[in-house]
Symmetry: C2
Subunit: 319 residues, 2 copies
């Protein structure tokens, strides 16, 4: 019996579900939790969703009315949660999670039943199969949930994790009647005034090193104070420096509340981002990694740029 069939059986045989999202919730954990909640309710069962952190306004329509159970919880499902640590304030559920549905290869297998499909661009893609196996028709609400998960985890079908299957599922969601223009305007094209101000300040910090091969931007706590913003308002910024033509290493330094800086490093081939971050006790993937550096901004910048330069030189890239 495949992992997915075990998950289906679990859903069929139980009731009164609480579906947990990861902390700092994104479109995929929210879309998958809410979509699964909708699917389970379609079976005539009870379900609600929970998250340790507040749901960002752009997703509020999905969670509306289904946060916090008004029934006795008997079954706990976690979605898009690779590790119980990522539950944040809901870590108290660790050891009590019956089912986990995820797409992270790194899933630690903390649940009684785990189904991981690492070929899915988004956990929400897995709901498409779950609905089918449960015989649930995907209505407009469930379609909006699935589409939200998929489009946010793929950068609206832009990233290389997008597969033919991703597009087939999106097509089916559009057939279910969702208003894709409206959803995407909400997800991708609405910027808070204060966030625009913050972005302006951050863009003004852009500096180039190593003949334009390395670009660095800096986010200071004073910028949040000046614009009335927080870290949430600049979520995607780490992608920016690497987007500039000729840049192979994009570094984003964010000042931490507790002092020091969190560095997000994004690279293009042949530079290994995790190699840079490992030198500072961090890690990550080949093209996206992170680390924390306890020092002044000038020192953090200089240390990271120096390490990046070493890797560029190792590859024979000198301009």
């Amino acid at each position: 019996m495949s992992g997915l069939q075990s998950a289906i059986n679990y859903i069929k045989e139980n009731d009164n579900y609480l579906i947990l999202m990861h902390a700092s919730p994104d479109g995929d954990t929210i879309g998958t939790a809410c979509g699964l909640c909708g699917i389970i309710k379609s079976l005539g069962k009870k379900a609600a969703v929970a998250c340790a952190d507040e749901i960002p306004a752009m997703y509020a329509e999905l969670t509306n009315g289904i946060e916090n159970p008004d029934f006795e919880v008997k079954s706990i499902i976690a979605v898009d949660v690779a590790d119980v640590k990522l539950l944040g304030g809901l870590k108290t559920y660790a050891g009590k999670i019956n089912l986990c549905i995820d797409h992270h290869m790194s899933n630690t297998g903390y649940a009684d039943i785990t189904y991981v499909d690492s070929e899915s661009a988004a956990a929400a893609e897995i709901l498409y199969d779950i609905a089918e196996l449960l015989g649930v028709k995907i209505d407009k609400y469930i379609a909006e949930c699935i589409y939200t998960g998929i489009s946010t985890d793929t950068g609206c079908f832009k990233f290389s994790n997008t597969t033919a299957r991703t597009h087939y599922i999106a097509a089916e969601m559009l057939q279910a009647g969702i208003d894709v223009g409206k959803i995407n305007r909400r997800l991708f094209e609405t910027k808070k005034k204060s966030a625009v101000e913050l972005e302006r300040l951050v863009t003004n910090t852009l500096e180039y090193y190593c003949g334009g091969r390395v670009a660095v931007i800096t986010v200071l706590r004073s910028m949040y104070e000046q614009t009335g913003t927080s870290d949430d308002d600049i979520e995607g910024i780490a992608a920016f420096p690497r987007q500039i033509e000729g840049v192979l290493v994009g570094i984003t330094l964010k000042e931490l509340d507790e002092g020091g800086f969190k560095a997000s490093v994004r690279t293009h081939p042949p530079i290994d981002a995790s190699e840079i971050c490992k030198s500072f006790g961090g890690g990550g993937h080949l093209r996206a990694a992170g680390c924390r550096i306890k020092s002044s901004v000038a020192e953090a910048k200089s240390a990271l740029v120096q390490r990046a330069e070493e890797l560029l030189l190792q590859q024979g890239i000198t301009d």
Copy 2:
């Protein structure tokens, strides 16, 4: 016989094709022209593409080696060209165009045979049917052409013109083996250093009026000079002011070489953008319109903001 079948017959019965794009070429006219060229060549026939203006670097891989015919041209096809005026320097072909394949409802019917499918998000979508009806297998190159047309005309599947069919076709193109991450990085995620500088200058001109309901940005010729850029480097900027939360009227003023300003107006409901532009001799659509104003930047701004304010007041929007 449907318009599409006439087009198919024309392609089957003739040879030595020159495929024309519109001037200031975008991803759809380039993708459709190159994709059709690939399809026609798959039939063992001769074909080449032509455009009055230079092909932007990000599309150069598609046109590589197929610009300008090295054979005697006997058949002329225009793609994604709604009006012969849009051919720019290739207007000399007016009256000699045998076939037109397009998705603009406003197509003027200038060709001997015209096939317009206004439900297609991109002209490139139509190639999918053309390949099938001609019995041509979509190879990786043709798939890249079709995908480029579709993804650029839909803002990478973000805009409301995206249909279920758009996603089905995209899925098929991915099946044909294209590297979607690489293509989209080239199309959407690579910014020229000089363009980043220009954007920074332009963003710094952002001003709000009417309690934040109207946002204005200004692009001066001196900014192009300072950064070594041109109008092409800031193509999508007109979308920016309207993306800001609370803004109902986004205005972009671009200084013209000949003096005065070109205004691009983008609105959210209930404001009619064309209504604003008509007051200055311009026009356009309900949510996107344009006009030219021969005056100083201060006068142009004040006149447009005043007209926008009148329309806001008419709708009872006073804050």
